[in-house]
């Protein structure tokens, strides 16, 4: 009886393990194949951009198209670094992006914290109004924002470039959602130890928020780094241009008639590199950050 039983369980477990092993292995291969095909289709334009940055404009305009550069050239990159002073717009972009990211992280987490865990008059109104602006199409704001910035005398200044980028509702939403999940017991314990609101926030809450802050940092950095329309309007000369503006202007102006696509590909490639590096470096936190915001 016991032998039979044992044999039966052995057979069952063999069946289980067979079922677990074989189909999963096949399934995995199929999954990998699908993922690989999808990936190939997905990265095609990116690869084209990288390859295109080593082609001359004439080659990019020629038909039929070439995939691999027929006459590989570094001219596009040389033009960016030597003919065109890329350093100034690069620094402008770095300053604007870093200040915007830092200010957005600080302001969003502060307001997110107050909205999540504090009680005060006006809380509901702020929550409703700020979250409602999540649904405002960006184009609504463009003209009045500009008139305002112009009247404040901030045209062609870093303030004008940075301040309107700091009012995103997404960061507030993200931080508030995450902070709602922080257990009250933790805060009460700190309060009993005599910690005030500010110490709790900076010494306990912020260190817990690394993941959502990383998520917000990447989104904000990407938005600021790639922003085009606003800096184009606000920056009036090349001392204030950011990289995307310079990219569009320089590759459009060379030759005067028509865009130099080779230059544009190289410029796009150069612009993407920091974002790509940042994403690769922070993507683990990035996804963890979204996971932990209670969005589940």
């Amino acid at each position: 009886m016991t032998t039979v039983e044992r044999r039966a369980t052995a057979g069952a477990s063999a069946a289980v393990s067979r079922r677990r092993l074989r189909p999963i292995r096949w399934g995995n291969l199929i999954i990998l194949a699908i993922l690989a095909v999808g990936l190939a289709a997905t990265i095609l334009p990116f690869v084209w951009m990288v390859l295109g940055s080593f082609k001359s404009n004439a080659e990019l305009l020629a038909r039929p198209i070439t995939w691999w550069p027929q006459a590989p050239t570094l001219d596009n990159f040389k033009a960016w670094f030597f003919e065109f002073d890329i350093l100034r717009p690069f620094l402008n972009s770095v300053i604007v992006a870093l200040v915007t990211v830092f200010a957005t992280l600080l302001l969003s987490s502060m307001v997110g914290w107050a909205l999540a865990k504090m009680n005060f008059p006006g809380k509901r109104a702020i929550t409703v109004v700020v979250l409602a602006t999540l649904f405002v199409p960006g184009i609504v704001m463009l003209i009045p924002q500009f008139v305002l910035v112009a009247n404040l005398g901030m045209v062609n200044t870093y303030w004008g470039l940075i301040l309107p980028g700091m009012v995103g509702a997404f960061g507030v939403f993200l931080m508030r959602q995450f902070m709602l999940e922080i257990p009250d017991a933790l805060l009460d314990a700190a309060r009993i130890d005599g910690a005030g609101d500010f110490r709790i926030f900076f010494q306990i809450v912020l260190p817990l928020c690394k993941a959502p802050l990383a998520t917000l940092a990447i989104f904000t950095f990407m938005g600021s780094w790639n922003g085009f329309v606003w800096p184009l309007i606000i920056a009036q000369d090349d001392s204030m241009y950011t990289l995307p503006v310079s990219l569009a202007l320089f590759s459009a102006e060379s030759g005067g008639h028509g865009t130099d696509f080779g230059l544009q590909m190289a410029g796009s490639f150069l612009i993407v590199i920091p974002v790509l590096v940042l994403f690769v470096a922070m993507q683990r936190h990035f996804i963890q950050g979204i996971t932990m915001t209670g969005i589940k």
Partner: protein, 296 residues
């Protein structure tokens, strides 16, 4: 008792210290422009008034009437809704399937694929547009593949019957990355014992996907649906760089029409169009919220 009131006062004072930096910036650079563009939509503000934006007449709902009775705007509205109706579910479905697949491969491979699938999000629209235009040519990649199956493909972008579909496919490709990352985060929040239990019960992959994953993921799907819908309603980049709304207005969108009004200097008409868009986005978000709440 008095000290409790004092404590409460102090705590709301602290709360206001937390929220005031954001609220002030948001009030000045977010709320004022938002409301003044609402006011603008009831005036006759045009390019010629740009030096005296206060020097305008109120015209009631004229601009809204102009916008809503314009046949091009009506076409744009229809296109936008078709784009949302096709694009949003497809994006969400593919992103969810990809996320589930990525979740089942090893961590190294997952990282690799994750970065790859994210490249469309960080590649500039300029490079994207060039490649997709080539792929959609008569003799391009799509028609070559269709040719293998004996199908003669259309001239995607210049046939009024297929242009919107072509643009929608491209937008899906561009948007999958963000949704996929959010789904991945949601999947990581599903306790692993749920999957193990399912595996022991001999549930196959499709059953697991529809009976376990999707119900558990409903909150993430809701968030994603609202984010993707809000983004899709503002459908602009793709037609702007690929077709400028043609052929025969078949790819024009509400945001593109609003942009055109700004371009022509008809700021007040543009603002009215933008608010129509805002209202629609809000309505859709509420509808989705209701729909998903019933399901969970």
């Amino acid at each position: 008792m008095g000290s409790l009131a004092a404590q409460r006062r102090r705590s709301s004072l602290n709360a206001w210290i937390f929220v005031s930096p954001f609220v002030l910036t948001f009030g000045v650079f977010g709320l004022i422009p938002l409301v003044s563009s609402l006011v603008m939509s009831f005036t006759d503000l045009k390019a010629r008034d740009i030096r005296n934006p206060l020097n305008v007449d109120f015209v009631g709902f004229d601009n809204f009437v102009t916008v809503l009775t314009d046949e091009t705007f009506q076409r744009a509205l229809l296109n936008t809704l078709i784009f949302v109706a096709i694009g949003v579910p497809t994006t969400l479905f593919i992103a969810l399937v990809l996320a589930v697949m990525l979740n089942s491969v090893g961590p190294r491979l997952a990282t690799f694929f994750r970065v790859g699938y994210y490249t469309p999000v960080i590649t500039t629209i300029v490079a994207v547009a060039i490649v997709w235009r080539i792929m959609y040519q008569n003799t391009g990649v799509f028609n070559t593949i269709l040719g293998w199956f004996g199908v003669t493909g259309p001239n995607w972008l210049s046939d009024p019957n297929t242009a919107l579909l072509a643009i929608t496919i491209m937008a899906i490709w561009r948007n999958i990355g963000v949704s996929m990352v959010i789904f991945l985060a949601g999947l990581q929040g599903i306790p692993s014992d749920v999957h193990e239990a399912a595996a022991l019960d001999g549930v196959n992959a499709a059953q697991k996907f529809f009976r376990i994953t999707i119900p558990l993921m409903m909150p993430t799907i809701l968030l994603n649906a609202i984010l993707v819908t809000t983004g899709h309603m503002q459908f602009f980049d793709e037609p702007f760089v690929m077709t400028e709304g043609g052929p025969l207005d078949s790819t024009t969108s509400v945001a593109l029409q609003v942009y055109n009004q700004f371009k022509y200097g008809n700021y007040s008409v543009g603002a009215a169009g933008a608010y129509v868009l805002f209202a629609l986005i809000g309505i859709l978000a509420i509808v989705q919220f209701r729909f998903f709440r019933q399901r969970t």
